[in-house]
């Protein structure tokens, strides 16, 4: 039957049926979409929003911030603004929220926290009228920094609820008081940590390839009984808790651990190596943890390749290595790229293992995000760092999807 022979009614009915089928299919997916929108997408959205939105200071000192609108931002603010700020500071000290202001301003101008905190402590006992009249003088008296412009600029900057400042910090940049963007004056840590994370991830990807490829090849070409047993060797680590595997690396690598005891026992070394809490520990433990992610996709591709290709090439006098590289290897590329993508993406954002075995030099960007979430409580910066990491990962994923397609992602 061809389309031309369909009557109008039939065509309409077919369209309706198709639309109904489309709708049914969509309705089946809808509950999950709604669920993921709430439980997963919205949280990530709220993190992205956090990275540019921080109303803390604007909420803490609204009156001062209003007066800031009229200040030129270059010379010292006028007395009325300072008086108002002194009044606000006293209120904060009594509510015990001055620390929050101090923390926010300190992030823009390091060292300001102590100025604000000690001044707030002094303002606590002064009465309001005196502060209204004489606040500026009292501020000057409490700390010399109030007579200089930078701290006022920092307060104004921190009072802006929408800002890209955290992205600048996350890229080791800063904005000068005149509004230009320049490389950050002071320690530059974040960009190098992104590079370090990518470097460690790349290293782990290469290692898992070097270790995983021969094993996958061997299993794929072994007799069925042997290959089933060997597969279990790969799947058991895959199914074993991540924390169990990290625990075992701690037991192996610590100063008095299994590896050191063994090395000293057979006389290879007289004093233990310090291996735990290093970048080496992060790399070896993560390679172990992620190796199955490389082996499984490789294996499933290799299993589908007829071994006679390679045998034929070799029996016709081809040298084994060129024959392998030219005939066999290209056929395994889909599995290799799926495995490599998985290993690379998973390891770039890894947190647990570096946190437990990485020490100071084996840290990755995720650890710094966790640090700013849990230790320094610099949530907007954590959100900005996280958004950049997300961007890097989506870019990788997108590139991969364009080049290879995600069909080869499968397990076991």
């Amino acid at each position: 039957m061809t389309a031309t022979s369909l009557s109008k009614e039939d065509l309409g009915a077919a369209r309706r049926a198709l639309r109904r089928r489309k709708l049914t299919a969509f309705l089946l997916v809808a509950p999950l979409l709604v669920f993921l929108l709430f439980a997963f997408v919205a949280p990530i959205g709220s993190m992205l929003f956090r990275s540019v939105h921080n109303p803390n200071v604007a909420d803490l000192i609204p009156d001062t911030m209003e007066l800031m609108d009229d200040w030129d931002g270059v010379s010292l603010p006028d007395e009325s603004l300072m008086n108002q700020f002194a009044v606000d500071l006293k209120r904060l000290a009594n509510d015990r929220t001055s620390g929050r202001l101090a923390g926010e301003v300190n992030r823009i101008l390091p060292g300001s926290s102590s100025v604000i905190q000690s001044t707030a402590r002094r303002m606590r006992t002064v009465d309001d009228d005196e502060l209204q009249q004489n606040g500026a003088a009292l501020l000057f008296d409490a700390h010399a920094n109030w007579q200089q412009v930078p701290i006022w600029q920092a307060i104004r900057q921190s009072g802006n609820p929408y800002t890209i400042a955290h992205y600048l910090t996350a890229l080791d940049l800063e904005r000068t008081p005149s509004g230009e963007i320049q490389a950050r004056d002071g320690p530059r840590i974040y960009v190098s940590l992104y590079i370090q994370s990518l470097r460690i991830a790349l290293f782990i990807t290469v290692l898992t390839f070097l270790l995983g490829y021969p094993l996958a090849y061997f299993i794929a070409n072994a007799p069925i009984r042997l290959s089933n047993i060997l597969l279990i060797f790969v799947l058991l680590p895959f199914w074993t808790s991540l924390l169990v595997r990290t625990t075992s690396w701690i037991a192996l690598l610590q100063t008095n651990g299994v590896v050191n005891t063994a090395l000293m026992g057979i006389g290879l070394t007289s004093s233990p190596f310090s291996m735990l809490y290093t970048e080496f520990a992060t790399i070896i433990a993560m390679t172990h943890i992620l190796l199955p992610f490389m082996i499984l996709p490789l294996y499933s591709v290799m299993k589908g390749i007829d071994p006679s290709y390679l045998r034929a090439a070799m029996s016709m006098g081809g040298k084994p290595i060129p024959a392998f590289l030219r005939i066999y290897f290209p056929m395994t590329l889909p599995g290799l790229s799926a495995g490599a993508l998985l290993v690379f993406i998973v390891s770039v954002g890894y947190y647990i293992t570096p946190a437990l075995v990485g020490g100071a030099d084996g840290q990755m960007i995720s650890n710094l995000i966790a640090f700013h979430m849990q230790q320094s409580n610099n949530w907007p910066l954590a959100a900005a760092l996280g958004s950049l990491l997300l961007f890097v990962i989506l870019l990788l994923y997108w590139t991969y999807d364009r080049l290879v397609g995600t069909k080869n992602l499968s397990f076991g």
Binding site: A93, D95, R96, T97, S98, G99, R100, A102, G103, N106, R107, P110, G111, S112, S113, S114, Q117, S118, R121, G186, P187, I189, L193, Q254, T255, N256, P272, S274, Y277, A360, F371, M373, Q374, Q375, S376, N377
Partner: protein, 352 residues
Amino acid sequence: MKKLSALVGMGALLMATTAFAQQQTLTAVSFGGSYGAAQQRHMIEPFMEKTGHRILFEDYSGGIAEIKAQVESGNIQWDVVDIEVIDLERACAEGLLEIIPRDVLPPGDDGTPAMEDFMPGALDNECGVGVIFWTTLYAINTETIGPNKPSTIQDLFDTEKFPGKRALRKRPQVNLEWALIADGVERDKIYEVLATEEGQARAFAKLDTIKSDVVWFDSWSQAPQLLNDGGAIMVQSANGRFYAAIQDEGRPFEMIWDGHLYDLDVWSIVRGSKNKDLALEFIKFATGTVPLAGMQEVAYGPTRKSSAPLVDPAVLPLLPSSHIEAGVKADGVFWADYGESLGERFNEWLLR
């Protein structure tokens, strides 16, 4: 008869359910390890037995970050927390803790009113009630240190005379003070110097000299392990941790009292706690004469005078109060003002 027994049964059931309804769960948080175990025995368990309420006793590694995250996000998970005075001033000034009224504290077991019974310093901050006098010092392992023993803070910073790893807790507190002591600042001027830009630069410069030899740890309870398994030759920790390791596990550790930084720990209530009343009940109980005296198990001094007669004379020389001349008092007010600035600076210094 049947009716009566049914009625009694009903009544018992009803009482059981109301008792169940009244049972609350309090979350108390402290430093774990041997100190946590002593608190478990002398404060947590007796309180649960006495009141029938349940306590989830958690470990943390100190600092105010976790409390701050809870209060600022509005997810209050903890009720009572054991906090060092070096962090207390700041936590209180930043509004992270509830104010604890003084008039509800019970008198000592000998009848002395609370305000007189507590030692000086134990009630200085309105947000906390003192639990222990303790100190931060470093210790060595006598079996592995060799014939040449370190004895001062200068020795801790002398990597030529004493090569090997030093284990310090990852925070600016205590470490910056020690750096200045090692750099020759007089002990009563430390905080004055540390309040200046030059003083801070000087302290970090001194820390730079040992940076590559330092193992940083997060929690006091990791410290004895590091000294035991050879992870470091000089290890900083609370005196009670080393005492417990020496006393209970027979470890060959020796504490170096020079330049120890003595401080108090207090029980505090996290601001916005859902169990504020029960938290207060717990603190009243846990800072009573007998529970406080129990802390001598880990060589921490009690904060009530009425507990003193209960302290074993053999422990006395090991309490921080017997080494005041060698030590420096930790300044919580200084750290309230400078904790944020120096904390950020310290972390950047670490990453550099």
